[in-house]
């Protein structure tokens, strides 16, 4: 049995490539085309991919996870009920919450708690977004569209409750689109103290 040998011709160069000069002219022509297009061409034809960063910025995509904010109720208090879901879900363990009870005369007393301390260490945070997923009250969101501003001091990266409440969402609001039904409201779906059940 003879072994069949398939001879594959070595891809050679054409004469034009071997002479080298036409290829030089081609390469130079291409580079010059780019140069003239990007330097003297009309603004909309330029294909410059980089920007002057601090003066010009690119809008982050809509679902970009930026630094956190705590959403507010209509009266300005945090929506957070200190259920500790976010700090439990957090894989980086960067959320520290100290829950507190409302005063007995407060209408919310007995229904929910509030965070007396709410601190996020933005340097530990890995921006995974699990805290937002875990939150049952839509109280923590990452829709600010901002990245962490640089600083030389580590303490600046510990965001406390007031700081987190003071950051607006990308649309400028401190609230969320989801309605909040306070206990005592007619729209409140659950059991409450007055109505019983």
């Amino acid at each position: 049995m003879t072994v069949e040998v398939k001879v594959i011709k070595k891809p050679g160069r054409t004469v034009a490539e071997q002479v080298y000069l036409p290829e030089i002219a081609k390469g130079l022509g291409f580079a010059m085309g780019r140069f003239f297009k990007n330097t003297f061409g009309p603004q909309d034809k330029k294909e410059i991919a980089t920007i002057k960063y601090p003066e010009e910025t690119v809008e982050y995509p809509e679902r970009f996870r930026g630094i956190h904010r705590l959403t507010q109720r209509t009266d300005g208090s945090p929506r957070c009920v200190a259920c500790l879901c976010c700090s439990t879900a957090c894989p980086a363990q960067c959320i520290h919450i100290e829950p507190a009870e409302y005063e007995p005369e407060d209408p919310r007393y007995g229904y929910e708690r509030y965070p007396s301390v709410f601190v996020i260490d933005e340097l530990r945070c890995i921006f995974c977004g699990y805290c937002v997923e875990a939150c049952p009250c839509d109280a923590i969101r990452m829709d600010t569209g901002m990245h962490m501003p640089p600083s030389t001091n580590r303490d600046h990266f510990l965001f406390d409750k007031e700081t987190l409440l003071s950051i607006p969402g990308r649309d400028g609001t401190y609230l969320t689109a989801n309605p909040r039904h306070e206990p005592g409201d007619p729209s409140h779906p659950g059991i409450d103290r007055e109505r019983g059940h």
Binding site: G27, A31, R34, F35, I48, E55
Partner: protein, 471 residues
């Protein structure tokens, strides 16, 4: 011509040369090289170096924008009116207006320059306002930042290096490149007593004549070769003195490459001497002014291409940057250098680019010659058409236009060199030597033969006469 006048004019010329090479072209080249590569590669390039203005200055600049724009428009309109009037005078042949033609010309140039400068000022002001009070000037401050960095960086000398030679290397590499400018003419002879008059087109002019070059010496181009070959020593001894095997290899590579291409560089210019029948660069430029540019004489076209290739190789830049091949030799003979010593090598390289571009433009592209510009002004004529339009210009204006045109030719050649630098990949070392000894050298030698035959057979005279009849 008095001795004082000679000394003062020579000093002024030396200053102008230093200002052009070290002061203007070298820093701008450092910027242009990076900016141009960025434009080729769809990047923005260097633009971050900035001088930050206080808020009050920013407000002032913002307020000044509109007046500057109005002034620019006004001066532009005046210049256009002057231009229209001049055209009218030129077509009519005589001047019936109450203003003299020379006054019109002066005002045209003055107002046009003022308008352009004011418009540029408006652009700069707008840019500063747009950047929020930061003067960035499209990255032109980067050479300044570079220079500051070079000056304040540690001047490191390797412990076992040869201290004297290590320090002498950059100086020996930089000085010859600047010195080569001594014999390059920037413009035609300046007749000091007739600055504001229209000179006759031909004939001798009495009075002090200032040749627009630092030294008018008989050996001319040979001086450049002698000086330029000194640069090899700079690269070689800096490689040797660094006490580093990469430096040594780089120095050896640089020396052998430059020696090889020096030969080609000289031989490609021999046809030019034969045609122009002179070694003096000013005579070459004058010959081209009287007849035609060297690049349009067929054998010299080939010589000019060869010269250009050899010149790029002589500057040791991509695609011939084997001495610095960073993938093999770290940085070649520059490896151990830092601070201002490296800066001097850097500067020397860029000044060499400028001086070789200047040389190429003087020998092959007519030097200071502007098409249709004669000693008495412009005279536009078309081939096969009898009539011509002449615009008489005063002497200083003619010289100024020639000077600007010479700079423009240098800039175009430099731009082309940078284009080559960013388009072509590096050669292998044997390919580099093959190109020199088996390619360019035989072609240049043959070209000398061809030019000899061209001159002896009378074809050169015929070609020149044909060209002169055409225009």
């Amino acid at each position: 011509m008095s001795t004082t006048f000679l000394v003062v004019s020579s000093l002024v010329k030396v200053l102008v040369v230093l200002l052009i090479t070290v002061g203007a072209f070298a820093p701008i080249l450092i910027w242009a090289e990076r900016r141009q590569s960025a434009m080729i590669q769809d990047r923005l390039g260097p633009s971050r170096a900035a001088i930050v203005l206080p808020a009050s200055a920013l407000a002032f600049i913002d307020r000044a924008r509109l007046p500057i724009w109005r002034l620019a428009a006004l001066t532009g309109i005046v210049a256009i009116v002057a231009l229209v009037t001049l055209t009218f005078v030129a077509i009519k042949g005589s001047n019936p207006l109450p203003v003299s033609t020379s006054a019109l010309t002066t005002s045209l140039v003055g107002f046009a320059v003022a308008s352009v400068l004011l418009r540029a000022g408006y652009g700069v002001h707008s840019m500063i306002v747009r950047n929020g009070g930061k003067i960035m000037l499209i990255g032109l401050l980067h050479p300044l930042a570079d220079a500051l960095k070079f000056i304040f960086k540690e001047d490191f000398v390797p412990p076992k290096a040869d201290k004297l030679l290590f320090s002498a290397g950059p100086i020996i590499a930089l000085i010859p490149t600047i010195a080569a400018f001594a014999v390059i003419p920037f413009a035609s002879t300046l007749h000091w007593d007739y600055l504001n008059q229209v000179l006759p087109r031909t004939g001798e002019v009495a009075g002090p004549a200032v040749p627009m070059q630092v030294a008018s010496i008989n050996v001319g181009i040979l001086f450049i070769f002698a000086i330029a070959s000194t640069g090899i020593i700079g690269a070689a001894i800096s490689g040797y003195a660094s006490d580093n095997k990469y430096s040594l290899l780089g120095g050896i590579r640089a020396a052998s490459q430059m020696v090889s291409y020096e030969v080609v560089l000289g031989l490609t210019l021999v046809p030019a001497f034969m045609v122009y029948a002179s070694l003096r660069l000013e005579d070459m430029a004058t010959w081209q002014y009287e007849h035609l540019w060297g690049v349009f004489i067929p054998p010299l076209t080939l010589a000019s291409i060869n010269f250009f290739v050899a010149a790029v190789a002589e500057t040791k830049r991509v695609p011939f940057d084997l001495p610095e091949g960073e993938s093999e030799l770290v940085g070649g003979y520059l490896t151990e250098y830092s601070g201002m010593k490296f800066g001097m090598f850097f500067m020397g390289e860029f000044v060499e680019v400028v001086s070789l571009a200047a040389l190429a433009s003087v020998i092959f592209l007519g030097g200071w010659d502007v098409p249709f510009l004669f000693r008495d002004g412009f005279e536009f004529s078309l081939p096969f058409v009898a009539g011509s339009v002449s615009v008489p210009l005063v002497h200083w204006l003619v010289v100024a236009i020639q000077f600007v045109c010479f700079l423009f030719k240098i800039i175009v050649l430099i731009w082309f060199q940078l284009m080559i630098r960013w388009s072509l990949p590096r050669f292998r070392y044997d390919q580099l030597m093959d190109l020199c000894w088996k390619g360019l050298l035989p072609v240049s030698l043959l070209n000398i033969l061809v030019v000899g035959a061209f001159i002896l057979s009378g074809w050169l005279d015929g070609w020149v006469a044909f060209f002169e009849k055409l225009f």
